[in-house]
Symmetry: C2
């Protein structure tokens, strides 16, 4: 199956089927159609020929005995959900496992930006991911990465590099659908030549330019949009959403992690839509980064849809956010995002509209999931060896490698401590006093302040950014992790430097992932050998390991896991989410100035 | 100015202006923005740089004295109106005159299908029209004709011919924006190879496929849409609109001629939108064919907008039909159809929103109309000689050439009489008895039945279709006309054959247009020497001649001019509008069978 939908059957072959001269391959009979075009519910028979819908008719027609008929009386038929913005790697599982998880949730297409694996393994890594994706029934479209590395080399060390020429070449992949937007808006406002060249390339190709405008308003927002970007998935308030909408920027609602939009925001938005008749055609839904256990237990776009409906949105309108609005935004509405004659036969059947419970999923006319049975490939997938063993240090880590000395001879030192937002809000760097013991500044776990180190892991340069963080608030032990957007160096966070070194060294042995150490012992781990980001294990196994990891984090290390703290930690590093990041170069002020800041004052 | 909007200034030049570092060229200050993106009204300053909008800001900012500022406090700023479906030739004036008429009405872009001149003069004629269009400030985009000639040669004789290769070549014109849809849907349902090839070409190029599905429903509608067409401008009832919308076909509301949609339809549609929350994003407005005097006196899209608002539509939603919805439908929404950062600076200022009274029009950042003063070229335009003298008969016409003899020797004969719809509805062919005098079947003007003849005028073949019609219902005299969609042969309609021959011969002398004859004398005429379709005179002169012509038609010839009968007559010939047409081959049954039918039984 060609995921792009090109080179498939010809539309002319649908004419005879629609007219009743030729038989359909499949009929979904007497469903209640979730019509995202007219925003109505109405009964319909859906006639499918090969990969496309040939006709949508009032029920009551008779079909030949040889035609496969799905009796859908009492069920709802909706267009398959489309996620416009995901990073497959963030779920830590293979694409096969991802597909097995999301298709039963109603998702039939995702647009994926492979910049996580791209930062670690460059173009070959991204090709390996899409090679795997080509074998799954889920339509995996390519968001061509907007910038690899995410930030200039003086700010952070990455491995992959994507030139403007490479970017142009990626648009020739059959799955290419848009220019991805996980970029630093300040680079645009500062008229970074390479970034603007990529916009102009996308413009020339006529593809959508995705963006992100965290907190931009007024003149800065106008400047950003004028330069090219057409959507943003990082709005964190209703006012921001309304301002973006007025300026023509599509809002991709990212309801998780919690730092973005919460249930109260959705209730406020639903109220403004109902009261002010605000147009919602520019609203979309996405899952972006979603850990395996959340995906397994909460769901995918179905989970976000339930949240919208519970917040007060009309269900059909909410479904538009996950179907036609996405298809319009990606400029693929001619083929995807609605159920109508000529459209691709990507259809989900639901038992309950408001509960978004999917009983059958059809992609390109094939039943890929029904009644609990997933019909895609389920065997294990093996990635090539060169995608593994990507954690490269100059030498084994010691506690001394990770610690900072005070600038003055004193009992305490003033440091800048990077703080992850609780709920939404920006990352900050707050000044605080920490004790000095044996000439080393030590963390204050009793006050929620941990030591932090980011170890360069691609080029074995030995470069380590050292500082302090208030994020997981470990009371004991340490965590090591190789999932740290976007360069995915190794982050060590701990109540003491010894456990940090121990966890970091173990992490290299298992090829990346997560390791917890406490009092000189490894207490939990999750191996993610593919690029230090993904496992070849099943989603159930990865989810179970993650749950165990969170249990140990909370129970043994005394971490504060409220507010999706673990996934938030994955973004602590990233300078693209304001106002600070922490890389192997140290603390980065990522506001308009964009500069390195000393951790010790 | 490049009408396509390509190759203009770069978007990156907008960044500095938006940020306030560089000055704008123009500011529209303190307008009430008709925001078709959020469907709101709110105050705004609009900053323009060169041809684009750099920023949309809350009012209150200060601008340098050197910046040109339009004080728009108390006025509304809306995106320039876009007409997705026009035939310039039908207004019978030059493009310069058309632009002068429509820009003060708020229209800043039209998508024009030049198939009228294309049927008469082929590709060179269409090039001449767009050559003229390139000199006017109005953005004239090209709807690449969907089929020239409109119907196979056995059904009607035309002159121009557009092959699939020609069609492909026209998509390279910088103004090309979609495949035009004035095609016969029956050809699609019958899987006409050439028509389907053109759809596949447009699909491959990623451009919109326009269509028309008059009265199609159920399986036939599904088959038509599945084959490719994405919009229809010929819906004639609210049920048809709803069925089209449900199937994903955009409805282009053509409120005139009256045979399509009336005020009561719009009231019913407005009610359904309000009560059922029917999604309106697939609704657009167009003017299609509009005679010079209607354009001058009623207006253009502003007239249609007033009608929608009076019918009960929310004004901002109605404005969406003429702006963003059209831009989405033509897939040019990245540049056109809304006021936002980065968009083309096509802006109209209105004194009154509900009355749609335009006081200023800006196109590509240039003020082209303000306070009654139009700033485009107003001098007369001369078309090349080869575009004229296109009325070619084999020999001068005589009454005998135009008359029919009975099949039997009797006092009366049974004939089929083509009847134009009153109000909306299909053209019919009703059987009736007519007297036979001196061996010739004569019309019965007292019963509203005229003689009809269509004289082939391109190749001087001498071919004449002869029959009877009940359309203008002339009580005396005859009308000759060379505007007869789509082949534009000469139509003669009369109370007697002698006046028909006289009017037809005079029509050839003046190079085409309209001629009225009564009792052996020419009583009115309007010369349309360019292809027999257009005049080089001013819109005021052409409108005045048309008004005089209608006066004479009604006063001297006793015609029934209710229900826009004159423009309806232009479509009497066309077999593409069901159920009948009348060509130089005679009466054509244009339903699914598509065959010639004898006029005399």
């Amino acid at each position: 199956m060609d995921k792009s939908g090109r080179n498939e059957m010809k539309r002319r072959d649908l004419i005879g089927v629609a007219l009743g001269v030729d038989p359909p391959d499949l009929v979904v009979r007497s469903a209640t159609l979730v019509n995202v075009l007219s925003r109505e519910l109405h009964p319909a028979d859906i006639l499918v020929k090969d990969s496309r819908i040939a006709a949508v008719l009032e029920p009551g027609g008779a079909y030949d005995r040889s035609v496969r008929v799905i009796e859908a009386e009492g069920r709802f038929a909706a267009p398959g959900f489309i996620d416009p913005h995901v990073h497959l790697e963030s779920s830590m599982i293979t694409v096969a496992e991802y597909a097995r998880a999301v298709i039963p949730r109603g998702t039939t297409m995702v647009a994926a930006d492979p910049h996580e694996i791209g930062n670690v393994l460059g173009l070959p890594g991204m090709k390996a991911l899409f090679e795997e994706a080509s074998a799954v029934p889920l339509r995996v479209m390519l968001r061509v990465p907007g910038r690899i590395p995410a930030v200039p080399a003086w700010m952070e060390t990455s491995n992959g590099e994507l030139s403007v020429a490479d970017t142009r070449a990626m648009f020739d992949w059959p799955e290419a659908v848009c220019l991805a937007g996980d970029i630093n808006p300040n680079l645009v406002l500062r008229q970074d030549q390479e970034q603007l060249e990529k916009f102009e390339l996308a413009d020339e190709l006529g593809v959508t330019i995705s963006g992100q405008s965290p907190g931009l308003s007024g003149r800065a927002l106008s400047a950003f949009i004028a330069a090219g970007p057409e959507d943003s998935h990082v709005a964190s308030s209703v006012d921001e959403i309304v301002e973006n909408t007025r300026a023509g920027m599509r809002t991709v609602l990212a309801l998780r992690p919690a730092r973005r939009l919460e249930a109260t925001h959705m209730m406020e938005l639903a109220r403004r839509v109902a009261e002010d008749r605000l147009d919602t055609r520019l609203f979309q839904l996405c899952t972006d980064d979603i850990h395996a256990h959340d995906l397994l237990h909460e769901g995918h776009l179905d989970h976000r849809l339930r949240a919208l409906i519970q917040a007060g949105f009309d269900p059909v309108e909410a479904f538009q956010f996950a179907t036609i609005n996405v298809a319009h935004g990606l400029r693929v509405d001619r083929d995807y995002g609605s159920i109508g004659p000529g459209k691709m036969a990507d259809i989900v059947l639901l038992d309950d509209l408001r509960a978004v419970t999917v009983s059958t999923a059809i992609i390109a006319g094939e039943i890929v999931y029904t009644d609990g049975e997933y019909r895609g490939p389920t065997g294990s997938v093996s990635y090539p060896d060169w995608t593994k063993s990507t954690i490269r240090y100059a030498k084994p880590l010691t506690a001394a490698d990770l610690s900072l000395r005070p600038t003055r001879n004193a009992d305490t030192a003033t440091v800048r401590c990077i703080t992850a937002p609780t709920g939404r809000g920006k990352k900050t760097a707050t000044e605080t006093e920490l004790p000095v013991l044996d000439g080393v500044i030590v963390p204050a776990p009793e006050r929620g302040i941990n030591a932090l180190a980011v170890v360069e892991r691609h080029k074995a340069s030995g470069e380590i950014g050292r500082g302090f963080a208030s994020s997981l608030k470990l009371r004991r032990g340490a965590i090591a992790c190789s999932v740290n957007h976007d360069a995915h160096n190794v982050m060590l966070l701990g109540a003491n430097h010894e456990d940090m070194a121990l966890a970091g060294n173990r992490l290299a042995e298992i090829g990346g992932g997560y390791v917890l150490a406490c009092d000189g012992e490894i207490v939990a781990e999750l191996a993610l050998p593919i690029a230090g980001l993904m496992s070849e294990a099943s989603i159930e196994d990865v989810a179970s390991d993650l749950t165990a990891l969170e249990g140990a984090l909370n129970g043994i290390l005394g971490a504060d896991l409220s507010d999706k703290a673990l996934i938030n930690m994955n973004f602590l590093s990233l300078p693209n989410i304001p106002d600070y990041g922490f890389t192997n170069k140290g603390l980065v002020a990522s506001d308009k100035r964009m500069q390195l800041v000393e951790s010790v004052i």
